[in-house]
Symmetry: C2
Subunit: 314 residues, 2 copies
């Protein structure tokens, strides 16, 4: 069976790392890069990873999505705040028969994409990793790295393709796990992302500061409990022990600034729609209210608006 080809939309800390590892393993990989295009065309990728450092030269890099060739798998690793651009980015790499693998935070992207490209062509996954882009074409991957992913629609044919992608990722050195319950995977990640991404901005605190304060831990637990209740109502049956496990796991993490906090501190748009608004709306449709999560969203919207106003004054 021939190796799959990959397009990488969003060549940052996630897409750059995984794409470079696939290319190193001999796959045809095509990167869409905006700001780093010229640098990567000349110098390739410089990957520092706790899985092993490497350089990758002769990279297939493109400045415009229109120049991308059709690929078997298009990995979508843009921030969700850029998703209004997708209708212009996906047609060329997805071609007639390619599929898209959404490696983005939050909820709702697969559903939205399915309406445009068809449910059978959509896969999604969650990444558990600490990785940053530290310079042009330069990724520093310091911890974890696992992808848990699966088809948005669970037909046998889709599960077969997911298994093939999973085998290729693992063969390329990426810890990948295939799941037949993407909804559950997404909600379990939200049990961390909603409290810890959200409160890290609302409280201006890294994980260790949050976990070190009893009032904050109470609040984190209340929010995780809301997310857990919403997950159940939305068909994702997660054992209640994961509420406490999520807190304990964070207690043993190294002090960490969430991606949302890094975005906010850098004056970038936060992924509020995907990580907060969509789950709140899904829960509401399922008859469950999430008052503290909603307050977190209202708080972050206020902070984002203020940040935008201050940014526009500069």
């Amino acid at each position: 069976m021939s190796k799959l080809s990959y397009a990488i939309i969003g060549s940052g800390a996630v897409g750059g790392l995984y794409g470079a590892m696939l290319a190193r393993a001999g796959h045809d990989v095509h990167f869409l890069c905006r700001s780093d295009y010229e640098h990567i065309r000349q110098h390739g990728w410089n990957i520092e990873s706790h899985w092993g450092d490497f350089q990758l030269t002769d990279v297939n890099v493109y400045r415009s999505a229109d120049d991308l060739p059709p690929c078997d798998v298009t990995i979508l690793a843009l921030k969700t705040v850029k998703n209004h651009l997708l209708s212009g980015l996906l047609p060329k790499p997805m071609g007639q028969s390619g599929v898209v693998l959404v490696l983005q935070n939050g909820l709702g992207v697969e559903a939205s994409l399915s309406e445009h490209v068809g449910v059978e062509r959509v896969f999604g996954g969650c990444c558990f990793l600490c990785s940053n882009k530290v310079g042009p074409g330069h990724i520093r991957h310091i911890d974890y790295g696992r992808i848990v992913f699966g088809p948005y629609s669970n037909s046998d044919a889709r599960l077969d393709l997911a298994a093939k992608i999973g085998d290729e990722l693992n063969a390329a050195g990426i810890e990948a796990q295939c799941s037949d319950d993407l909804n559950l995977v997404r909600w379990r990640k939200l049990m961390w992302n909603i409290p810890f991404n959200g409160l890290s901005v609302a409280l201006d605190a890294s994980t260790d500061k949050m976990i070190g304060d009893d009032n904050c831990v109470d609040l984190v637990r209340d929010i995780i409990t809301e997310v857990h209740r919403a997950a159940t109502a939305c068909g994702a049956t997660i054992d209640a022990s994961w509420i406490e496990k999520t807190i304990d796991h964070t207690r043993s993490m190294v002090p960490y600034d969430s991606s949302m906090r890094l975005d906010f501190l850098a004056g970038r748009e936060m992924e509020l729609q995907a990580i907060l608004a969509n789950p709140i709306a899904a829960a509401k449709r399922a008859g469950v209210s999430m008052p503290k999560t909603e307050m977190l969203y209202q708080t972050l919207r206020f902070m984002q608006n203020r940040s935008n106003k201050e940014g526009s004054k500069k």
Copy 2:
């Protein structure tokens, strides 16, 4: 009928202003002062007020509560965070037959005092004013000034004494209104204090910044609605139109930093117990949950703890 005598416990922006106005009107007024004792003993009070500026010399000022004479009315205008000191502060000025008028923020102080001095000797009230202590013995009162107060226990004798106190306050130039429903007065004030004091710290924003953002107004409305529901459950029947009126009123206010925000910015203890924890607990006893108010409290506790830690490092 002879004029009542007054003791002032907490000679700051509230106690200093009202006490000085009562003394100017010829009442026997006795001030307990800590930090400003020496200054006031020598120079008296310097009152700047939109009701009229004045100086007051030959002030009866005391450094220790043990030196205060028994007075008819002891006005309690300390911050509630100092209330653990009350058992040492009240016995001398209240004497055998004096009463206490609690002009503090929040909920629960009258109930707690009643257990110690007897329900018949407790009055309470809310102050609606913009006033600051800007230097030793120097008060700047820039807007409003009304006191709404009443007996904690509604016997006829207590209502008669409240009416007499009200007449004296008004005769001294203070806008005072007597109420036979102190519980309602307190909860209506909480409809402003909880959202606007609390969020001004949690969001680091003055009233105009909050009221200028739609997400924040939604959050303010949600919290006021929780307070209104709690008030109803606690026996304070407030017309629902006050939810929107409270927002509209704030919209037309001058940009204002709440007392809680000023306390926080100055590194002082915030009145979280009286303004947030006690109302949440009262609502809970009445079977009503206040999730967003509770989250606000959890957030502010986290911020207070962090501030205390940072303060102790200096």
